[in-house]
């Protein structure tokens, strides 16, 4: 009847034949979810492209308000975190649980650095009155440089895109803390590290989105 054969490890769910099928299915499912995320951010990139084609001067002017250096540092921070999460998966594959936890922790810390830098960027702008929507109230110094009538649109797009990206970073941090705790309880080993693998995929996507956000928002000349 429908009894679980003792030949399958405990982590294999009952509707899967074996561990490989379960792992492959989880990866496939996560990639399908990433497709979904790409289209989600894709809508935002689409809005960006449309408005940039309409108002190219606005975009050149407004980008001057964004700090390339901090944006570049954030990009390198995220790349670093992608590296460490890939190392974390590698540790799990080699049954090095301590290495897994260390790499996860570094990833989390780098992600937090990203958020801190973002926080200071936002704070600086809000100080200057560069705020989304109805809070748009730029100081005279800003207006001297940025006199385009549609300037609020660029920053609406900026805040929404980086804001939603930032939300995804926060979710990623939460997921990795959860992984860190589970790893500490011995849930993962070289036979079973699926949650680490698929969370890693999610995290790499967050990095990928930023790889495109950075030049499109910060590096317009």
């Amino acid at each position: 009847m429908a009894n679980h054969s003792a030949s399958q490890p405990a982590h294999v769910q009952h509707h899967f034949v074996d561990s490989d099928q379960q792992f492959d299915s989880a990866k496939l499912g996560m990639w399908v979810f990433l497709v979904n995320e790409i289209l989600f951010f894709g809508g935002l990139f689409c809005a960006y492209i449309i408005f940039r084609v309409w108002y190219p001067d606005l975009f050149s002017q407004a980008a001057l308000e964004l700090n390339k250096v901090w944006g570049g540092i954030n990009t390198i921070v995220l790349i670093g975190s992608s590296l460490t999460v890939a190392m974390a998966i590698r540790s799990a594959q080699r049954n090095e649980i301590k290495g897994l936890r260390i790499n996860l922790m570094i990833t989390i810390l780098l992600a937090c650095v990203f958020l801190v830098i973002k926080y200071f960027e936002y704070e600086h702008k809000l100080h200057l009155g560069i705020a989304p929507g109805s809070f748009w109230n730029p100081t005279p110094e800003v207006l001297a440089v940025l006199d385009h009538p549609k300037a609020n649109i660029f920053f609406s797009i900026y805040y929404v895109m980086t804001g939603i990206h930032g939300l995804h970073v926060i979710v990623g941090i939460g997921l990795m803390i959860w992984l860190y705790i589970r790893a500490g309880k011995g849930h993962f080993n070289s036979e079973y590290y699926t949650p680490v693998e698929i969370t890693g995929l999610y995290w790499h996507l967050v990095d990928l989105i930023w790889i495109f956000l950075f030049p499109l928002l910060y590096l317009i000349e």
Partner: protein
């Protein structure tokens, strides 16, 4: 014909497993009690919970429709205020689209039947499946909360700037409800794609997938690609409402047509999410009740994918009069004509399936014929609307209303009824009253045409849609339409009656009342908790009615239900029967 695996060819020991006609333990008896249902990860129970929810919303939105039609009995006010009227048709549309049509066939019937058609024990991610259901429920709750706030009257399309200006709490709540609901759709699609790729029983190659599964596969692809764009659209709309972010509002520097682009980028593929699973059901039912293989298997399978793809490129045909560039309108019109072709191929192939078939006019089959008639009208009128010059005249008239009711109700809903009546014995283990089934099918046909045919004529003569008032020349049309809607209401009540009655003391259903060759029928009625008590092995094409039933009831001999060694090597042509 049957495909042969080229990579690893192993011989499997198989034996015949005849499903028991008197199952003692079924999925209904194995988990009992409200809590067991609410926490189940069994795809069959989740499918039934979706079915009940969809039926509930259909009844609610249906009553709204009856209220609307009653109001339209006379020009000017009959018994509803104008503002209320706007809220009612908005709610009717939003509920029908988001809470009934989009989830209905995939989440209710698809969840139940598809894993069984694949010979699997469940979908790939059962807990995610349950989460999808609860996300659906939460989305519904948000919508009800929005009604408690001052409601919303923007039309189900929430066009800006009206929807972003109003600063209305009602709009924010309902759009967030739809945002949440979108995730239910996305996760179901993710689940189905993974299941179809990874959980097929030995012998089920892509060339032997039931057409219902092909349809659900195409639908899931659309769900995963289109729904996120709806999600971002609604998020941006909410930001416009709450923060005055000016992407869609011209007063804030934005573009209202851009909203329409984003909205319809999802909502056009959404109508294919609604209809393509219906196509899958039609293939299943028509072959069973013609005792014949479906004509042009690959044409139908691949046309579902073609519809999915081309369906992403035609959204601008909802915006011909919105101020798009001439380039865009022309391109969209051309592509709209193109998307009719794969659908037409299906209709012709189904008709060809009937030719020289041994046709049995049971209730599901009657619904298939009704579908072929009503959906063809709907499809043709869609093509007519796709012609630019014609659409300038017909846009925003009752012609459009009639068109989409013919495809959505005459198409999706009729297909849902066909599938429901087809798989009811399998899901519940009971037979419904066949005579009442036939009577209500005929009533639906009469009522439906009476309701919506006059609307084509009205629309062509200029009666605008969403209008509360009208000039006297349209009154006979409106009144005919209203009477038709009452007939529809009666028919649905009869269906509800005999289906519910079958659950209490209905005739016990055999495992395969229709003598179908489908794999889902080679199980008990109702099925076992794990669907099959063996690992099924498939050696034939799904609709090979010329082959004996024994060949469709094979499973791995002395199976540990899928666990253990060598259970899943490729099946060669030489399977030894134990």
């Amino acid at each position: 014909m049957a495909e042969v695996e080229t990579k690893k060819m192993t011989t499997l020991q198989v034996q015949r497993f005849i499903p028991s006609e008197n199952p003692t333990n079924t999925y209904l008896t194995d988990e009992k009690g409200v809590w067991a249902w609410m926490t189940t990860v069994d795809h069959k129970k989740i499918g039934l919970m979706y079915l009940a929810s969809v039926a509930f919303f259909f009844a609610l939105a249906g009553f709204l429709a009856l209220a609307l039609r009653t109001e339209l009995w006379t020009p000017a006010k009959t018994f509803i205020e104008a503002d209320t009227y706007n809220q009612l048709f908005t709610l009717h549309g939003a509920m029908m689209v988001f809470f009934v049509l989009v989830p209905s066939i995939p989440a209710a019937l698809g969840n139940f039947i598809m894993p069984m058609q694949l010979g699997a024990k469940d979908v790939a991610f059962p807990r995610l499946n349950l989460a999808s259901f609860y996300i659906y429920v939460i989305g519904a709750i948000f919508t009800f909360i929005s009604l408690y706030m001052n409601g919303f009257d923007t039309g189900w399309t929430f066009y800006t700037p009206y929807s972003s200006d109003a600063n209305s709490a009602g709009v924010i709540w309902v759009t967030l409800g739809v945002f949440i609901l979108g995730f239910s759709s996305i996760l179901t699609g993710t689940n189905f794609i993974t299941t179809i790729h990874k959980l097929r029983a030995p012998g089920i190659t892509w060339g032997r997938l039931p057409l219902n599964v092909w349809a659900l596969y195409a639908t899931s692809i659309i769900q995963v690609l289109a729904t996120p764009v709806l999600a971002i659209t609604i998020l941006l709309l909410s930001f416009e409402n709450i923060l005055d972010i000016g992407i869609f509002d011209p007063a804030l520097g934005g573009d209202p047509v851009l909203y329409q682009h984003f909205f319809w980028f999802y909502s056009h593929p959404a109508v294919y999410i609604m209809i393509v699973p219906g196509f899958g059901i039609i293939s299943e039912v028509i072959s069973t009740f013609s005792k014949k293989t479906v004509f042009g298997y690959w044409a139908i399978a691949l046309s579902s994918l073609a519809i999915a793809f081309i369906g992403f490129l035609v959204w601008g045909h909802h915006m011909f009069t919105s101020g798009q560039s001439a380039v865009a309108t022309t391109v969209f019109s051309f592509l709209t004509f193109l998307v009719g072709i794969p659908t037409g191929i299906k209709i012709l192939n189904w008709v060809a399936t009937l030719y020289k078939g041994s046709i049995e006019m049971k209730t599901p089959m009657i619904y298939v014929f009704i579908f072929l008639f009503l959906f063809s009208i709907g499809g043709f009128t869609g093509i007519m609307l796709g012609a630019l010059s014609v659409d300038i005249h017909l846009h925003d008239t009752y012609y459009v209303v009639a068109h989409f009711h013919y495809v959505m109700m005459g198409g999706t809903l009729i297909a849902l009824l066909a599938g429901l009546h087809y798989w009811w014995p399998k899901m519940t283990g009971k037979m419904y009253n066949e005579t009442l089934g036939k009577i209500s099918a005929v009533l639906i046909f009469i009522g439906f045409n009476m309701t919506f045919l006059p609307q084509f004529v009205m629309g062509a003569q200029g009666m605008p849609r969403r209008y509360y008032n009208y000039i006297d020349q349209f009154q006979p049309f409106h009144q005919t339409s209203t009477i038709g809607s009452y007939i529809l209401g009666v028919a649905f009540l009869i269906i509800l009656y005999y289906l519910v009655k079958s659950l209490f003391g209905g005739e016990k259903a055999p495992s395969n009342p229709w003598n179908s060759r489908g794999l889902e029928w080679q199980s008990t009625s109702p099925p076992d908790f794990h669907n099959f008590d063996h690992t099924p092995v498939v050696i034939n094409h799904p609709y090979d009615y010329h082959k004996p039933m024994e060949e469709f009831q094979l499973g791995i001999a002395v199976s540990h239900n899928g666990h253990g060694e060598h259970q899943d090597e490729a099946v060669s042509e030489e399977t030894k029967k134990a």
